[in-house]
């Protein structure tokens, strides 16, 4: 079985897991497990454990299971069996080898994409249970190194990539300057109070993909929006702590984010094309703080572009002609039902669109989300193996361009496209919009 | 009156049971009063019952008479058919349906005396 193989990969590469395991005592292990499973959870968790009839209907939902030739250990329920059930049966007295495997299952063999809860007749949320395992790993300090580093960064800088405060502002000012090549009076208004929109991005944008901020600024400017970006921490809408089970840091990130919006007195928050950040701000981070729903309307780029196009604030000069297909990211399709809107944008901007199957809520995972890609280079090879079905699904479309409105999906899809030699280009919806839009400023009277 | 009808039923039962005897060897209650009997008539030997000491004297245990829903003591109804009083469905006059009249009479007695069959298939033996 591939399980043994992955364990050996992990042993040789992830110091954080190995060092963490070496520090553990049996008492601490059972204390933490029992504390999380019995004190932090309640009836919901018990119902999930009691209700599962071990029918295996969830297997077909999982891209890991399908990519690994139906290896039973990758079935969603099997992941619960190999972690939670055994922790419960042994009352938390589990071995270090067990924990090593548990870290791996919860962090690298599950994207917490929640597709399986759509295939379980009882709607059992297996992703929730994998996140509980991650919380246990977090408390035992055996979270994989690279994702833990992003959480450490969040805790210090409130962004995911150790972007320093001056680097952030400097990057925005530099993009603003660049943008003036296209629109001479283009601005990225910093910390402007009382505007309608706070635009937020994930830290990898200023770090590696500043061009996306440039594009967003051009779109905002052309559409004549009254917007701003915060000049102090709280600009990053990503939240890796949500994926390691560090609910305390996760809450702090979400609070800083929403308080930025409150400080700037904005009406709503628009965010770039990121799925997990949307999940964090719309669905998870807010709950950690007693905000039943996010205190500000959180608008994903898909909704925003759709609004600009349908309101005529942005018009399309010439449609994109290459054959495109669309990947539905879990966190905005299953997580927010934006898949139909995304299709409308594709149809408004592209002339040759091919659907992939299955799609919409049932789309197969990119294999990178849920914090999996953030566990870093040591796990890249197995990520490629674990997402073969996605490559097959993409190949079947025969498209030249793959549109994926999510950063994590981009990383995952680019990796598998390269690995499986698919000869496809991955683009954001924003890339397409930027390429096809009329570069003129919207005037209401026109 | 009723007793007569029951007696007549027994005579009829005896007459028809000849067929049963010839096929199965056992004496059974007839099921004529039922519209579509689901089970073969229960195996029942009147002689066996009248010869047992406990009920040999008192025909009215089975051949009872009720008036105004109370048992009339010292009267019996051997000349009536059970279905004269117990209709297929319980009604205002009699709350005990014909099925229950048989089932309850037989089983309750068997329970009380600790004798005789009580399970369905012990009486309704497949032919």
């Amino acid at each position: 079985m591939s399980g043994n193989e992955t364990i050996s990969i992990e042993k040789s590469t992830d110091d954080a897991v190995e060092n963490g395991l070496s520090r553990l005592t049996p008492q601490r292990v059972s204390h933490v497990i029992n504390q999380v499973l019995h004190q932090e959870t309640g009836a919901r968790f018990k119902a999930y454990v009691d209700t599962c009839m071990r029918c295996g209907l969830c297997s077909d939902a999982c891209s890991y299971f399908l990519s690994n030739d139906r290896d039973p250990s990758f079935s969603p329920a099997a992941k619960v069996k190999q972690t939670i059930w055994e922790m419960l049966a042994k009352k938390g007295k589990v071995s270090k080898d067990f924990l090593r495997r548990a870290v791996h299952i919860a962090h690298l063999e599950c994207n917490v994409c929640r597709r399986c809860s759509m295939y379980c007749p009882f709607g059992i949320d297996i992703a929730y249970m994998m996140l509980l395992v991650r919380r246990i790993c977090h408390k035992l300090e055996i979270t994989p190194q690279y994702i833990q580093d992003t959480v450490n960064s969040h805790s210090v800088t409130m962004n995911q990539m150790w972007v320093k405060e001056d680097e952030w502002i400097d990057t925005l000012q530099w993009q603003e300057e660049d943008g003036r090549e296209e629109f001479e009076d283009l601005r990225i208004p910093l910390d402007k109070q009382g505007v309608d929109i706070m635009y937020s991005v994930i830290a990898p944008e200023p770090k590696f993909q500043a061009g996306l901020i440039y594009q967003a600024a051009v779109i905002m400017h052309a559409a004549g929006m009254n917007w701003t970006m915060p000049a102090s921490p709280g600009w990053d809408n990503s939240n890796m702590a949500m994926f390691t089970g560090d609910n305390e840091i996760s809450g702090r990130i979400a609070r800083t984010f929403f308080e930025s919006a409150a400080r700037l007195n904005v009406k709503r928050i628009v965010m770039g094309e990121c799925g997990h950040a949307f999940r964090s701000t719309y669905d998870v981070g807010n709950r950690a703080l007693s905000w039943a729903m996010p205190p500000f309307e959180v608008v994903h780029a898909i909704e925003f572009y759709h609004e600009l196009l349908t309101a005529g604030r942005i018009s399309i000069k010439k449609k994109f002609t290459k054959r495109v297909t669309l990947h539905d990211p879990c966190n905005v399709s299953r997580g927010r039902g934006l898949h139909n809107m995304a299709r409308k944008i594709v149809n408004m901007t592209c002339s040759n669109f091919t659907e992939m199957t299955p799609n919409k809520e049932h789309n197969l995972c990119c294999g990178a989300g849920g914090g999996v890609v953030n566990c870093g280079p040591p796990y890249k090879k197995e990520r490629m193996v674990n997402n073969r079905v996605k490559a097959e699904q993409l190949a079947a479309t025969g498209a030249e361009v793959l549109i994926a409105p999510c950063h994590n999906c981009h990383s995952g899809l680019e990796d598998i496209i390269h690995h499986y030699k698919l000869n496809m280009e991955v683009k954001f919806l924003g890339d397409i919009l930027f390429e096809t839009m009329e570069k003129k400023i919207y005037r209401p009277e026109e | 009156m009723k007793q007569w009808k029951i007696l007549m039923m027994f005579i009829l039962a005896l007459a028809t049971s000849g067929i049963a005897f010839s096929q199965g060897e056992q004496e059974r209650l007839n099921t004529l009063a039922f519209e579509m009997p689901r089970r073969p008539g229960a195996v029942f030997s009147h002689d066996d019952h009248t010869q047992t000491t406990e009920i040999s004297d008192d025909c009215a245990i089975c051949h009872h008479v009720y008036a105004n829903k109370t048992l009339v003591p010292d009267e019996s109804s051997e000349d009536n058919a059970c279905s004269d009083c117990h209709s297929l469905q319980p009604d205002r006059k009699n709350s005990i349906s014909l099925v229950n009249a048989f089932h309850k009479r037989c089983k309750e007695c068997h329970y009380d005396l600790g004798k005789g069959p009580v399970l369905c298939g012990e009486c309704h033996i497949k032919k």
Binding site: M53, L57, P72, M118, G123 | C120
Partner: protein, 211 residues
């Protein structure tokens, strides 16, 4: 009917009721936030979607298993309830009655239930991912359901050891009733709850379908 029937039936009903109340109570005490996401509309939407045969994609992908499983669950309740022999016994005790199923039909459907259970066993043995999930307890649970049906079938046909078979039928039925609230059979009440919650999260918060 002996008192055990009533005791076991009461244990089943009250057990499930108590279980239900405890779940709601615990949610209220420990995870009250869940209640802010549940709506009746989205709960029902999800439950109904999953009750319509072959409507959810998951069930269309496994038509044989799902079809058998669906019929099995329907029969599991309908057969005992509409069986002549059971109605007669209820009628003796409570003077209640309702139309009974045709005996031959009941007989065939019983074979159907037994077949479904055998199918479940075979599936657990031979489908690798299901086998991986299966523990000894799963077979015990199947056996617990199987016994009342097999013994009922044998008793009806009066094949062998009639008296003992009937006793086994009664006892296995009673055991099954008693076990329901204390085992995963209680999914008869927890599954609608998990479904309702997931249906609400998907429908109410995430604006997506969960089938």
């Amino acid at each position: 009917m002996g008192p055990m029937v009533w005791i076991s039936a009461l244990i089943c009903i009250f057990g499930l009721l108590v279980k239900f109340i405890l779940i709601i109570k615990e949610v209220y005490e420990k995870e009250r936030y869940l209640l802010s996401y549940i709506t009746v509309r989205h709960s029902l939407r999800s439950i109904i979607a999953w009750l319509i045969p072959f409507y959810p994609r998951s069930t269309r992908m496994r038509p044989v298993y799902y079809g058998i499983s669906y019929l099995f669950h329907v029969l599991l309740f309908l057969l005992p309830v509409f069986l002549m022999s059971h109605i007669v016994l209820i009628n003796e005790s409570f003077n209640l009655s309702w139309p009974a199923m045709n005996d031959t039909a009941a007989d065939i459907l019983t074979i159907g239930v037994i077949f479904a259970l055998v199918f479940f066993v075979l599936r657990r043995r031979f489908i690798p991912d299901v086998r991986f999930l299966t523990s000894f307890m799963d077979y015990i649970l199947i056996l617990m359901v199987l016994l009342p049906f097999v013994t009922g079938f044998l008793a009806y046909h009066q094949v062998i050891l009639y008296k003992w078979i009937v006793i086994a039928h009664v006892l296995s039925g009673e055991v099954l009733l008693i076990v329901i609230p204390f085992s995963r059979f209680s999914h008869m009440i927890t599954a609608p709850l998990t479904r309702a919650y997931t249906g609400s999260e998907f429908g109410n918060i995430r604006h997506a379908r969960d089938w």
